[in-house]
Amino acid sequence: MTARPKLAVWKFASCDGCQLTLLNCEDELVPLAGEIEIAYFPEATRAVVEGPYDVSLVEGSITTPADLERIHQVRAVSRRLITIGACATSGGIQALRNFADVAEFRSVVYAHPEYLETLDRSTPVAAHVTVDFELRGCPVDRHQLLELLSAELAGRRPRIPTYSVCVECKRRGAVCVMVAGGAPCLGPVTQAGCGALCPAYSRGCYGCFGPQDTPNTRSEADRLRALGRDEVEVLRMFRTFNAAAEPFRQESRRHEAARQHPGQEVAP
């Protein structure tokens, strides 16, 4: 019997929800541990098997000087490095700091700034090291995570679509919440993977899987404006859990500029 591949799970700035998704595979967890050696996963076990690791799952974004160094160490001990979730793939909700006026941020002063070490930007893992695959979502989808791990075990490419949520919605046979219901929905510009969850609950998609591969964000924004959203509301819709993903970042910048200089077209 060949040795089981070694899996490591690493955490950076995050809510723990994506690695929890692995523990939420209740039916698959124990069989999975038979196929893969869970070699480093501090949230689940205090046992540590030394690296190098065949597959590293990385949750969270890079926000501190120490983490900036640590991600390089993780890369060095990982044969395959896979980022999981919006924080690791785009910088996450904490990337809202990237748009903040630092002076304004400082006005929310508490006690001792000297106790804290933090960077002025929250960045995705791929901004610092080579990433072999990025799994989207805030949080990642359990089925996609299992598909990804199965593909890793089989040495094949994972079947993770990059088309929009609209495709999943149509496939599900759901009535369009935007066309029929007038609800603001980011489904047309957001990557599939959730199974069109929000439309199934009678709400518009809020973009937690980040931009799809060919997002027409300007057309989407025009549609949102036509539905009665003002510039600031459109800006806020693009600026949430994947605010720093490039297409969403550019679109929110465009509305920020339009708000500051009404009537002028400003490059993002």
């Binding site: 523990l23 106790y115 809020y206």
Partner: protein, 437 residues
């Protein structure tokens, strides 16, 4: 890693605490046999929620603050909803409150099962983690995973998904699940209730170190039932009681050098206080349903429980309570009521609290007339407990000073895990040190 000091002192550092949610470490310093210092270090990076909530719309806190914690997102969503609705002067109808309670029961079952079986039980049975434990105790791990899945299934039906549910909004829900959808949960929850009763029996047989916390306990208290999604007032074990709106005045938060989480104290007191299962149970055991009360009695719990190691038993009893409550809500559910009320914005300040699995979670928002957030304050359970955990570790470590470093490290780790710290939640925005990239 341990460092011998040349003066005969000893410093124990436990880096990267395992089987806790988030990133923490512990520092214990001995001077001879005396404990010189104990620090629970929280180095989870700050994420600045309270800063970036400013300027957001009053409809956004449920989705945004859910991301503070992937393990208890419903707690954040619920406290946020109460606080925003309070600021806007809107009360929600009873079906909305009941659906919040139902969703919250799912989170209690999921989160408590995670802690009891995957994070805490391995300490008592002598394993590094649940996967290792499964080799010898497959039935125990299966029981835990089945319970955890029942909680997740409930959250998926009501909330759409278990991590960061999508169905919660200010004013209520996007849609109510139908009586038929809820009815399908019945067999799952009946089984879960049976499993939870087995779990109480199982964990009550563990071997618990003798230890009594001296601290003041704090919890919500409700007119009826065990406090879960809300309470009518905040009560403490020394007889304090105040409305949720007074929380910010009654609790003082301070920033200490070794932690990115704030320490909390009750106003006018230098002593730490405790929130969470032990506090909730001690202050509300009279409010438990018959089945949970009987399970608690069978497990040897009195009306109060002050031993943090036994919190695993209280958590199991709370799983029983949550399963019982969920079944009662499902059985009483009638289709047809509107899933939400409108919450038009207005200028004002609002407060909300609920009982997260790890204890009382408080939110406060100040809105302008258009509903834009001017100020936000979030007081999570783990930061409230941090001072008490350190105080307890100081006492425990003194008694354990004769142990070798390896044994001492393991004991201290186990002690910390019994508090179920959720470190992702507790890390707070304080201020920003800028490094230009």
């Amino acid at each position: 890693m341990n460092h011998k000091l040349t003066d005969g002192g000893r410093v124990l550092r436990v880096g990267a605490l395992a089987r806790v949610e988030g990133e923490g470490a512990m520092h214990v310093a001995f001077d001879g046999a005396d404990v010189a210092d104990v620090q629970l270090r929280i180095y989870e990076p700050p994420r600045f929620y309270e800063a970036f909530l400013r300027g957001r719309a009053h409809t956004e806190p449920p989705d945004i603050t859910a991301r503070i914690c992937g393990i208890c997102p419903v707690a954040y969503q619920t406290s946020a909803c109460w606080a925003v609705e309070d600021a806007c002067g809107v009360g929600v109808p009873e079906p909305v409150r009941l659906m919040r309670r139902l969703l919250y029961c799912g989170e209690w079952i999921e989160s408590h099962a995670l802690h009891v079986f995957l994070l805490h039980a391995p300490d008592f049975l002598g394993y590094d983690g649940a996967i290792e434990m499964a080799a010898d105790h497959a039935d125990v791990v299966e029981l835990g995973l089945r319970l955890k899945k029942a909680g997740n299934t409930l959250m998926e039906v009501v909330g759409g998904r278990s991590v960061h549910p999508v169905n919660v909004r200010v004013g209520g829900f996007y849609r109510f699940p139908s009586r038929t959808e809820l009815g399908r949960l019945r067999p799952v929850l009946e089984r879960a209730l049976d499993d939870a009763l087995v779990a109480v029996g199982l964990v009550s047989g563990f071997d618990f170190p003798d230890f009594e916390q001296p601290h003041e306990y704090l919890s919500l208290r409700a007119d009826h039932g065990y406090p879960i999604e809300a309470g009518t007032e905040v009560v403490t074990s020394t007889g304090r009681s105040f409305p949720v709106s007074q929380f910010a005045q009654q609790i003082e938060e301070t920033h200490v050098a070794h932690s990115n989480a704030l320490h909390a104290r009750l106003a006018g007191s230098d002593a730490p206080y405790v929130v969470g299962p032990l506090a909730r149970y001690t202050l509300n055991s009279d409010r438990l349903s018959g089945v949970a009360r009987e399970a608690a009695r069978g497990a040897g719990l009195g009306e109060r429980c002050r031993n943090p190691f036994r919190s695993i038993v209280v958590r199991a009893v709370e799983i029983v309570e949550a399963c019982h409550e969920a079944l009662a809500i499902i059985d009483g559910w009638a289709d047809g009521s509107p899933p939400r009320v409108e919450v038009p914005p207005r200028a004002g300040e609002g407060y909300g609290a609920s009982e997260a699995p790890r204890g009382t979670l408080f939110h406060r928002y100040v809105l302008d007339g258009a509903g834009i957030i001017q100020d936000a304050q979030i007081v999570p359970p783990t930061s409230q407990n941090q001072a008490a955990v350190e105080a307890d570790l100081r006492t425990m470590a003194a008694a354990w000073s004769g142990l070798d470093d390896h044994a001492l490290q393991h004991r201290c780790e186990q002690a910390i895990r019994s508090y179920d710290p959720c470190i992702s939640c507790a890390t707070h925005f304080l201020d920003l040190t800028v490094e230009r990239s």
